[in-house]
Structure formats: structure tokens, C-alpha cells
């Protein structure tokens, strides 16, 4: 599948600000199953300075500095993204990959760079801490002769069935305990919930930020800016590598999921965060378009 991706963020400041700095994580990743071309980040007003580097997790970051006083700032990221099929469902059904004891053995004994990365993604992080409540979700789902992927798939389904997607119920700083208590949240909460649960059970797990192609209601045209950022998680299988799961939609991400960045949790891959000189409130608007082409 080919997509034309556009992610527009617009700041509106109460008072003019001088020297705004933003750190963007808006460049889709080059992956075996995802080819990115014509990627760009543009500013309006076009008076800023953009500098690019790679972070620890291999994501491309842009540091944006706009010096003159301004009351409005638009950051527009665009790219052409080709997403190839991954056939992960087949791996799941065929019982491929390791089981839990094999995974534990691998983590305890293997001295490769991949194993080290896996161990990194076994540690608690700020937004996906170890909690007794999240850890307790997994054991009841375990079954004999279950592969790692099958176990994770059970959790994926469990979250989908027992938690209600409620836009606006949480913010980026809502702790997991609250999500658990009310059984409500958005994609990023569900991803972090799964991550917290899996890591507490010794399973390497990372946060994936990206986009989802959405279909307009039947008979209606696609509305501009109707899409949104999305998030899911991936687990590490020593034989198969990283496998994505989307608990919000109870699917294994494939050609409708566009991958932006990897991290331990949302805090590592915030699409755009900034600091400004000056005081006063600001308003933020985001419009995302994922247009098949």
C-alpha cells in the first residue's frame, strides 16, 4: 500500500513569543516492511532553523528553532510511505517462535547486541511502570504449549474486550492506574498498559508510534485532517524479531499501520514538544492525513 502522509501541528500563542524551540519526532522510519520517500519537515513562518539527528532508538529527530517574535507556528511533516505486507498472522497461527521458557533462557544467556536491546526493553519506564495490577493480567491468559506470540495475542484481545476506547478520557500524563481503574483510555494508554504488563512478566516490549489508515463512513468523502496519530506495541521474539500488536483494534498491524518511531513509551517519541521564551497560554491543533495513493 502507498500513502501520502501529512501531519500538521499548529501552535497559537496568546502573546508573541521569541525564540521557540521544538523537538520533533515526525519522520517515518525506514524499515524492511516500510519504505519512506520524499520526507520533509517545513515551518510556517519559514524563518526557522532545523537541525536533524538520530536518537538512541534510531528515530530521526528534528530540532526546530524559530527566533523572531511570532504568535503562530506551523510544523508540517510530509512523506510518501509504502507499507509492505508482513504475514505476522500466519506466524501466529502456525505456532512459530519461542515459548516463555525459551525466551527466559535466551535473555539469561545470550550476549548479542539484539539480546542487550531486548533487555533494555524489559525495564520499567516512566509511563509504563511495573504495577502489581498490570502484571496480574497476564498469568490467567497463559496456557500449556503456548508460544510467546500466542500469549501476547491473548493479552491483545483481552485489552480490546475489557477496555473501552474513550477519546478525551485521558491525557498524555494520565497514569496507568487510572486507566486500569476506569477501564477506559485511548490507543496510547492501551499500548502502555500492555507494555507494563508484559515487561513485568519478563517479556521485552517496546512502544510504537505511528498512524492508521481510516476509512470514511460509507458513501461519504474523506474529510481533511480526519486521521490521527496512533500507537501500539511490539514484543521481541528471539527467532522472529519484533512483532507488532495493536490492542486498540485487536489486530496485528500490517499494511494499514504506518510506523513513525520506537521507544520505551510515549515520552521517548512525543511527536512535537517545545519550549518558548515568554509567557502566556498557547493553543495546539493537530491535523493528520493518511491518504492512500
Amino acid at each position: 500500500m502507498n500513502y501520502q502522509l501529512k501531519h500538521l501541528t499548529e501552535y497559537q500563542y496568546e502573546h508573541a513569543v521569541a525564540n521557540s524551540y521544538n523537538l520533533a519526532c515526525l519522520m517515518p522510519r525506514q524499515l524492511p516492511y516500510q519504505h519512506v520517500s520524499q520526507a520533509s519537515v517545513r515551518l510556517t513562518p519559514d524563518l526557522g532553523h532545523i537541525s536533524q539527528y538520530q536518537d538512541y532508538f534510531g528515530n530521526t529527530r528534528h530540532l526546530i528553532h524559530l527566533q523572531p517574535p511570532h504568535q503562530q507556528l506551523k510544523v508540517c511533516s510530509e512523506a510518501l510511505v509504502e507499507v509492505l505486507p508482513r504475514h505476522n498472522s500466519a506466524l501466529l497461527d502456525s505456532g512459530s517462535g519461542v515459548d516463555m521458557p525459551q525466551l527466559q533462557h535466551y535473555l539469561n544467556s545470550n550476549l548479542s547486541a539484539a539480546a542487550m536491546q531486548a533487555k533494555l526493553f524489559c525495564q520499567a519506564s516512566k509511563l509504563a511502570p511495573f504495577l502489581t495490577e498490570t502484571a496480574a493480567l497476564l498469568p490467567p491468559l497463559r496456557a500449556p504449549k503456548q508460544t510467546l506470540l500466542q500469549l501476547v495475542e491473548c493479552l491483545n484481545q483481552y485489552i480490546f474486550e475489557h477496555f473501552i476506547y474513550t477519546a478525551g478520557f485521558t491525557t498524555v500524563v494520565t497514569p496507568l492506574t487510572e486507566v486500569l481503574q476506569h477501564r477506559r483510555g485511548v490507543c496510547q494508554d492501551f499500548a502502555q498498559l500492555a507494555i507494563s504488563c508484559l515487561r513485568a512478566n519478563g517479556i521485552p516490549c517496546r512502544y510504537v508510534s505511528g498512524y492508521l489508515e481510516t476509512q470514511p463512513p460509507p458513501g461519504q468523502a474523506r474529510l481533511q485532517g480526519a486521521d490521527a496519530s496512533h500507537a501500539w506495541f511490539a514484543v521481541f521474539d528471539p527467532e522472529l524479531g519484533w512483532i507488532d500488536f495493536d490492542p486498540t483494534n485487536n489486530v496485528l498491524p500490517c499494511q494499514q499501520h504506518l510506523t513513525l518511531a520506537f521507544g520505551r513509551d510515549y515520552a521517548d517519541v512525543v511527536p512535537l514538544k517545545g519550549v518558548v521564551q515568554g509567557s502566556g497560554a498557547h493553543q495546539l491543533q493537530v491535523a493528520v492525513d493518511v491518504i492512500p495513493c
Binding site: 524551540y21 538512541y56 530540532l63 547486541a113 533487555k119 525495564q123
Partner: protein, 788 residues
């Protein structure tokens, strides 16, 4: 086996030397030294008394011992630098299982953002402080490393100077190594990093650490800067000064790792956005780069021997303390069995404490590193009553790692003497129970004055007006504005309060409400509602909780003054102290039945403020600094006088009582009487307070002064200041348009006057913004920066 510090004869010789002098003299020396320390501290913060005491006896360390320390620290410094480079780079130590992945990746001091920041080991760790213990057998053992802010470097120097000054004759006793060579190297090292300024980045809080940083900055002749003094642009860091932006090439950092860059690290940090990126772009040299505090956390202590073996297949030259990760069962049992023998590093709380309480350790053992508590050799200490007093001692050493050179060790250090556990933990006891010593490395006869005599360009930041930091100018500007605003508010209250009756209201009183309205508006409160009782407005003005109250204003004033305290004389501080003290006498609600209590208080405040104006004119030698305060003061006076006149000349002509109050408030009643005898004419008053350029309280006077003062501001290298004269000229022209004769004829429909007074305020606010853009934020619209 090495000797126990100095051979006994050295120490005996030292004590014998002191014993030659009468007790009273020794006692005076001791007091002199403590006084010296307090005085040093007082230069930077007169409310801060150092908790440290300096012993009369120096700590003598033998040449043999020091050679062992020197070789050992050099190796340890190189090893730690190599470990940091690996952990923030290829992570071979983790991959090969020497440092557990879990321990590293879950440590809050491991900054993922710092990965790959610099490439060479010595760039990762230019400065290292290591704590050493000496045991009874003369064995030397390193037990802690500190990288984020090598606290004690300034103290080591301060102690040497204090002892030298107080007992000059003692210096001849033994030949010892000089400290100055190391500091000269350090300065040269920082200044050679680029063509920009080398500076010390301070945390800015007023504590003993700040004193040390200021002391070092003075000695090394480096600029002392706060995060707010700096800005990032075009891949590098700049110092905002009154003459524009100056590039910064090197920073010696005394700010917690996570606070250094609010963009990439903690957003509430006091550092500067872009700091990490400027290091990444090799435009800034940072000693030490953020991320090095990983060493301070203690997680590497258990693995140093293994790491030395991994990199070099060599043993450590200097013993390192026995340390364990408590996740492993065996060491955990050992610690639990003999907790009194261990000290703990709590990794998630980022604290260290004795292992007395094992509760947290049992709950989350993986969060702890335990290290053995060392038994320490005692050092003799001076005590008037007890001639054989001695205390356990530890020594903090400092080393500097330059590329292509072995690490250089300061021949001396910062000694801590006190309770055995306390001195092995990083926090210095604040109860005065700790003692320090000047540390002498014996037997090095030739002074280690560096052979290298670098030709550096010194840049004394605070002595040259051109390099006055913008932050300082901004605080002074606002100090001027707040001081004047407070002055006018108090004057308005002083004339209005005695005339207000608490319960009854009559027409005369209502006319005076315009002064209360002025007080509200002047400090940014919304205007009073038409039918709102005056008591509500007064309560607002007097409430200590309302940030827009008189007290809130005074607090703003004090805050700005405290932020630039090194620019004021002692006498000015005395006045500011007194002014601040009035906060505590402030009544919650003014008793309008007995207005005199509050009037006295207001009188006192006006007097104190006037004295501050006078003193500053007398004593502030930095003319540009003073100019910003002056501009702030007169801009505020013009602005508020315009506002006041706008309130008073709003609809009807002011009554006689209002006019008299106005003249009294503006302190111009005498001037008026001299000119016009006793007849109170509204237009004459308007002329006096608005147009007359010879009355120091008139708007016209302020504007001509602003015109003159803004022209004398420094030229900017990087911003356009053309708007300033345009604005002051516009202000003068506007005043010329106001003609009282014309007004007189058309009154009371003086809409034009009302609009003109409004326009004056608008232009003055613009002038304030323009000054801020040019000199404080350096973000002028027509000024792309150029590299100089």
C-alpha cells in the same frame, strides 16, 4: 608498604611548631581562619554562613603516598572515561555481561538522550573528583567518584588561601606542592576550546555551592552564567550581553544533568534549550557533559576491577572499595547480616545512606548498591581544650583529563573530617560537626607553576560594561520599574487613606476613589466595578495573598534585587533588608478608623525607597547597569503618571481636594505654590505634571530623560535598535501636541486629552517591549544572527 600519610616525624614536627606559640595566639589564629571563611562567603551572600570549619593544622601527605595516589587516580580517571564512552556508545561492557543491562538501563542517571554525544573518552570525563580513605595500615582506597559538579575544588583553594593569609609564618615549615599550576591548566584548557567565552554554568540558587562556583569563577577569571543568560542558535550556545550575543565555547557545568536542557531533558530545568545539541554538533565543550552523573550514582563501583581487566587486562593500581549489587543473593545476605559495615546507594531515590535500616533494601534489593564502610586513619585536629583531639578523615582529589595527556592531579584536595559514616557519604553535614583541612603534598620543592604560560584573553564578565549579561540588565530594569511603581502606589495610598471614611461616604470621598482606582490599575488589577464598595478594593490592595497587591509588588521588587545582589553595595542591602522587613509589619486589613499606623509604615517605605535611589546613584559604578535601572524607573514614572492623570481628568474637572491630593502625592505642592500662590487651577497642574520638562515628576521630564538615556545604551552587534529613538521621538511629538490652552477652552469634553494620555501609555509600553527585544531576549525581528 607505603607510609601512613606523612611520616610520623612530619606530623610531630607540625604539632611541635604550633606548640611553640602561646595558646592565646593559636586561639586567635583559629578564629581568624573561621572569620576569613565567613567573610569569603559573605561576599556572595551575607545571609549564608558556611557550615564548614577549617582546622588550624594542615593535613600532611608524604611524597610516597602521593605518588601512589597520583598513579592510581590517573588510571582510574582513564578507566572511568573509557567506561562512560562505552556505555554511551557501543555498550560492549553490557553486551559482554560485565555490567548488567538491567542495572544500567533502569538507572535514572543513565540518559538515553546523551548517547553518542561526544566521541573520545577524555571528552566524556574532563573533570573527576574521587574520594579516598586512608586506613591504619597506610592502605589507600577510593570509595566514590563525583562527576557532575566536583564540589570542593573551590574549597580546596579557599582553604589554602585562608591558612596562608592567617598564619603566613606556617608556610615556611615544609616545602609543599602549589595548587596554582593545576588551576592555570584548567583555565587554559577551558579557554582553548574555541574562540568564544569559557564560563561556569551555575545552578543559580543561593547556597554554599553557589558561593564555591562564584569563588572559582573569580579565581579562574571565567564568566559565571545562569541558564537564562544563554541561548541556542545556529547549532551553538551564545551569551546574551548588553552588546549583543557572544559565542560560548566551553562550559564548566555545576547544574544537575537532568536540568541542563529543558528541551531534551527535564522541561522545568534551569539550563538552556539546545545545550545537548550544541555538544552533539561539537560547538560546545562541556565539562562534564550531561550523562556523566551515572558515575555518581555508584552503579559502576562493583565492576571497576572487571572493566579494567576487560579493557586492559590490568589490575587497578589504587584499591577500590568493595561494592556489590544487592540483587545478587550472596552479597545481600552479607549486608543484611552486618549492616553496620555498609553504606547504601539507593539508585531510584538517588541518595546514599548508612545501611542501618534494611527495610527498603529487603523490599527492592535490585535498587541498591552496597559498599563497604572504610575504617579510617585519624588526623590530629586543633582544639583549645583537648590537645590530643583527632578525627577520621577522607580526601577528595581532583583530576583533569586532556586529550593526548595523562590525567593531571591537583596536588592537594578537599579534606573532610568528622563522624566516620557521615564523611563517607556525599552530603556535607550542615550542623557544623564537620571540619576541613588544608591539604599539603610534601616534598615537592619546586612550585608546580605551569611551564606553559598561555596567552589567553581574559574576559572579566562583570567589570566591562559591554559584557554585562542581559539577565542582569533585565533584573535591574524591572527593579527600577517595580521600585517606582511601589513608590507611586504608596504615595497614592498615603494621600487617599486618611481622607477615606470607613463607613460613611460623601461626595468628596468618592472623588478620591480615583487614587484607589489608580493603585489597582497601576499594578495590573482590573478596574473597580461601578458599585463596588471601596473596602473591597482596599482589601485587594492589602491582601498578602494577592499577587497584584502592594505586598506582591514589594516581593517582585525584592526578587529582582536578590537576583543581582552582587551589583549592590552593602549599604544598599541594608536598605533593601529594611524594606523587606516592612512586609512582616504589614496589616492583613487596613484599619481605616486608625489610619495612622499604616500611614507611618507607608512613610517609612517611601523614605527607604528614596534612600535606595540616592545610594545607587552614589555607589553603582557600572554605568550601563545603572542606566537600565534608571530607564526602568523613569519609564514607569511616565507610564503611571499618564495613567493617574487619565483617571483624574476623566470626566469633570477635578475638585480642589483631588487637586491638592494630586500635588501632594507628586511631591510638587511646594513647586506649585511657589509658582501660582494658592489658586488651584486644573490646567496649571496638568502643565506642571505633564508638560513641564523641568519638574522631575512630570511626564515631559521623564520622556526627555528616556530619550537621552536610550541613546547612550550600548551599540548592538546583533540587533537593530533603530526603533528606540523612533519611539522616544514619537513620545516627544505627542506631548507637543497636547496644549493646555486648547484644552482649557474645550473642557470638560476633553476626549482628546484622554486619548492622548492613552496613546502615551501605549507608546511607553512599546518602548519597554522594544528594549526587552533588543537587549534582553535578543530576538529582534530584523536581526538574523551572524557568526563573529
Amino acid at each position: 608498604m607505603p607510609a601512613v600519610n606523612a611520616p610520623p616525624s612530619s606530623t610531630e614536627q607540625l604539632l611541635a611548631w604550633f606548640a611553640k606559640f602561646p595558646l592565646a595566639l593559636r586561639s586567635r589564629w583559629y578564629d581568624d581562619i573561621q572569620h576569613q571563611l565567613r567573610e569569603n562567603g559573605a561576599n556572595f551572600d551575607r545571609w549564608q554562613k558556611p557550615g564548614r570549619k577549617l582546622d588550624l593544622y594542615p593535613w600532611l601527605i608524604s611524597t610516597a603516598d602521593w605518588q601512589q595516589v597520583q598513579a592510581g587516580i590517573a588510571q582510574r580517571h582513564q578507566l572511568l572515561a573509557l567506561i562512560l564512552q562505552d556505555l554511551y556508545g557501543p555498550q560492549q561492557l553490557v553486551q559482554s555481561g560485565i555490567i548488567p543491562a538491567e542495572l544500567l538501563f533502569s538507572n535514572p542517571q543513565f540518559l538515553f538522550e546523551s548517547a553518542g554525544l561526544v566521541q573520545q573518552p577524555e571528552q566524556w570525563l574532563p573533570l573527576l573528583a574521587t574520594d579516598l580513605g586512608f586506613d591504619h595500615h597506610g592502605q589507600i582506597c577510593a570509595f566514590a567518584d563525583s562527576c557532575k559538579a566536583p564540589a570542593g575544588l573551590g574549597f580546596a583553594l579557599e582553604h589554602r588561601l585562608a591558612l596562608k593569609q592567617s598564619i603566613p609564618e606556617l608556610q615556611q615549615l615544609r616545602a609543599k606542592a602549589h595548587l596554582s599550576g593545576f588551576f592555570r591548566q584548567l583555565r587554559f584548557f577551558l579557554q582553548q576550546q574555541g574562540n568564544g567565552i569559557a564560563a561556569i554554568l551555575t545552578h543559580g540558587a543561593r547556597d554554599e555551592a553557589y558561593f564555591e562556583q562564584a569563588f572559582l569563577a573569580n579565581y579562574l577569571d571565567l564568566a559565571l552564567v545562569h541558564g537564562a543568560d544563554l541561548m541556542f542558535s545556529e547549532q551553538r550556545i551564545w551569551l546574551k550581553t548588553l552588546s549583543g550575543l557572544q559565542p560560548v565555547s566551553a562550559l564548566m557545568r555545576f547544574l544537575d544533568d537532568r536540568l541542563t536542557d529543558p528541551l531534551e531533558l527535564d522541561s522545568e530545568g534551569a539550563g538552556v534549550a539546545g545545550l545537548l545539541h550544541s555538544i552533539r554538533q561539537q560547538q560546545l565543550f562541556c565539562a562534564n557533559p550531561p550523562g556523566t552523573a551515572l558515575l555518581d550514582s555508584g552503579i559502576l563501583l562493583p565492576f571497576l576491577t572487571a572493566a579494567a581487566d576487560y579493557f586492559w587486562q590490568q589490575p587497578l593500581l589504587l584499591n577500590t572499595v568493595q561494592a556489590y549489587w544487592c540483587k545478587e543473593a550472596q552479597p545481600l545476605q552479607q549486608v543484611l547480616k552486618n549492616p553496620e559495615q555498609f553504606l547504601l546507594h539507593d539508585l531510584s531515590a538517588q541518595q546514599q545512606y548508612p545501611a542501618d535500616n534494611t527495610c527498603a533494601l529487603l523490599q527492592r534489593p535490585a535498587d541498591f548498591i552496597a559498599r563497604q564502610k572504610l575504617s579510617l586513619h585519624m588526623q590530629p585536629c586543633y582544639d583549645q581544650q583537648n590537645p590530643t583531639w583527632q578525627l577520621p578523615a577522607v580526601l577528595r582529589t581532583f583530576s583533569l583529563y586532556q586529550s593526548n595527556q595523562a590525567p593531571l592531579l591537583l596536588p592537594g584536595g578537599f579534606a573532610r573530617l568528622g563522624e566516620l559514616s557521615q564523611i563517607q557519604l556525599p552530603v556535607i553535614a550542615q550542623d557544623g560537626s564537620e571540619l576541613s583541612k588544608d591539604v599539603w603534598v610534601l616534598g615537592v620543592d619546586q612550585p608546580t607553576e605551569s611551564l606553559l604560560q598561555p596567552s589567553y584573553n581574559s574576559m572579566p564578565l562583570s567589570r566591562e560594561a559591554g559584557l554585562l549579561p542581559s539577565r542582569v540588565a533585565e533584573h535591574l530594569f524591572w527593579l527600577g520599574r517595580y521600585n517606582e511603581r511601589l513608590n507611586l502606589l504608596i504615595r497614592a495610598l498615603r494621600v487617599a487613606l486618611p481622607l477615606l471614611h470607613p463607613t460613611q461616604t460623601n461626595q468628596t470621598e468618592q472623588q478620591l476613589y480615583c487614587f484607589i482606582d489608580f493603585c489597582l490599575l497601576a499594578n495590573g488589577s482590573p478596574p473597580r466595578q461601578a458599585n463596588e464598595p471601596i473596602s473591597v478594593a482596599l482589601a485587594q490592595l492589602f491582601s498578602p495573598d494577592n499577587p497584584l497587591s502592594v505586598i506582591g509588588l514589594l516581593k517582585n521588587l525584592i526578587y529582582n534585587a536578590q537576583s543581582v545582589r552582587e551589583y549592590f553595595s552593602e549599604d544598599t542591602w541594608l536598605l533593601l533588608d529594611k524594606l523587606q522587613a516592612t512586609v512582616y509589619q504589614w496589616p492583613q486589613t487596613p484599619d481605616l478608623q486608625q489610619p495612622m499606623t499604616i500611614i507611618y509604615l507607608l512613610d517609612e517605605m517611601v523614605l527607604l525607597q528614596t534612600a535606595i535611589y540616592g545610594l545607587n546613584n552614589e555607589t553603582m559604578s557600572r554605568t550601563q547597569a545603572l542606566r537600565f535601572m534608571d530607564i526602568g524607573q523613569h519609564l514607569e514614572r511616565a507610564l503611571q503618571t499618564s495613567l493617574l492623570l487619565q483617571r483624574i481628568y476623566s470626566q469633570d474637572l477635578p475638585s480642589a481636594s483631588v487637586m491638592e491630593a494630586l500635588l501632594r502625592m507628586a511631591d510638587t505642592l511646594m513647586t506649585y505654590r511657589r509658582r501660582y500662590r494658592s489658586e488651584l487651577n486644573p490646567m496649571a497642574i496638568l502643565d506642571l505634571l505633564l508638560l513641564d520638562t523641568t519638574t522631575p515628576r512630570s511626564v515631559g521630564y521623564q520622556i526627555s530623560r528616556l530619550h537621552r538615556q536610550t541613546r547612550a545604551l550600548p551599540e548592538l552587534t546583533s540587533a537593530d535598535r533603530q526603533h528606540l529613538p523612533v519611539l522616544t521621538t514619537e513620545l516627544s511629538q505627542l506631548l507637543e501636541q497636547v496644549s493646555t490652552q486648547q484644552l482649557d477652552a474645550n473642557y470638560p469634553s476633553c476626549l482628546t486629552l484622554h486619548a492622548q494620555l492613552g496613546q502615551l501609555q501605549y507608546l511607553l509600553r512599546q518602548l519597554s517591549n522594544e528594549l526587552s527585544l533588543c537587549y534582553f531576549t535578543h530576538a529582534h525581528r530584523s536581526s538574523p544572527w551572524s557568526m563573529s
